[in-house]
Amino acid sequence: MTIWLLILGVGAGSLMLRASFLVLLRGRKLPEGVILSLGLVPAAVLAALIAPELLYTPGTGTFAPFGPRLAAGLLAAAVAWKTRNLLLTLIAGLGLLLILD
């Protein structure tokens, strides 16, 4: 029962956030500062999603800079920069992690 409530709650909340501007606030004029900062959203959010994954050990949550994950992440970034190819980026990053870990 709790699990079904959880599923419905998370579903309703996620949908409201996704629909916030696209549906519920549509047609409103956004302030210039907001529009400028929207261009920065992808860079800022993606960096925040990536960085902790490279510097902390998953599960235990211990700070592990200069570990295999950082090395694999840097190699992946270099491959992404050179090739712009996601599959090669994944192969390089996962491959190095498997070798080092």
Binding site: L25, G39, P42
Partner: protein, 234 residues
């Protein structure tokens, strides 16, 4: 000339282009979905509940956070935590609004439901000359949705059969790296990414992955300051 299934001429070809642009992300999303399916089953979801969670919640990080917290935290607090993790969807929603001119309400709800990190990033990285960004987004979103549902269902059914030592979940930050690199085109964007990364790491111990939101907001503020300053320099 006008494609029968799309609202605007040429929209069908944009749909397939968006779908094709998403293909390289499938090998990154599939293992992430499997990990989310496995985590839910191991946390006490039945395979059916795990699949319903993917279908109704449709949010990978939120599904993982909920699976982690189940059993020790009241459901209301778990829902709040997933809302914080998902706050970035409101930012994506706002940033895509200018593309959605003239899209009818019912379709807006459906397309909003399909909004994810990956379909958003693919749409933002579309070719500059793309004439039908909404159709392009729809193509990317349809393939993302199918990949995620197949991935989580597979994970839920395989359950505990997969060795925990496989670093499959690392495919997630790797695919984000591949999405971030092409976005770093200007000084403000590089600064936004740098500040965001440092804050997200420094604030890692905050509960409910608030470090993600804090990092993103600080990064955007820093990028905005530099952008304003450069404009004043002329």
């Amino acid at each position: 000339m006008t494609e029968p299934c799309m609202s605007s001429p040429g929209g069908s070809s944009s749909f397939w282009q968006g779908l094709r642009a998403f293909v390289p992300l499938v090998p990154g999303v599939m293992p992430f979905g499997m990990v989310a399916g496995i985590a839910a089953v191991q946390a006490g979801f039945s395979p059916l509940q795990s699949m319903a969670f993917s279908l109704i919640g449709y949010a990978g990080s939120a599904q993982l956070v909920a699976a982690q917290m189940l059993g020790q935290t009241p459901a209301l607090l778990i829902i709040l935590a997933t809302l914080v993790v998902n706050l970035r969807f409101a930012m994506y929603s706002a940033s895509m609004l200018p593309l959605f001119d003239g899209v009818p309400l019912a379709r807006r709800w459906l397309l909003a439901y399909g909004l994810t990190d990956q379909s958003y990033a693919v749409t933002m990285g579309r070719p500059a000359a793309e004439p039908h960004p909404v159709a392009y987004y729809t193509g990317a979103t349809v393939l993302m949705w199918l990949t995620w549902q197949v991935g989580t269902a597979t994970g839920a059914l395989l359950g505990a059969g997969i060795p925990a030592s496989w670093p499959l979940e690392f495919a997630v930050p790797l695919s984000f790296i591949a999405l971030l690199v092409p976005v770093l085109k200007s000084q403000p964007q590089v600064l936004a990414a740098g500040v965001s990364a440092v804050i997200a790491v420094a604030a890692h111990s905050l509960p409910f992955r608030l470090n993600l939101i804090l990092g993103a907001v600080c990064g955007m503020a820093a990028g905005l300051l530099v952008q304003r300053w450069k404009e004043r320099q002329g």
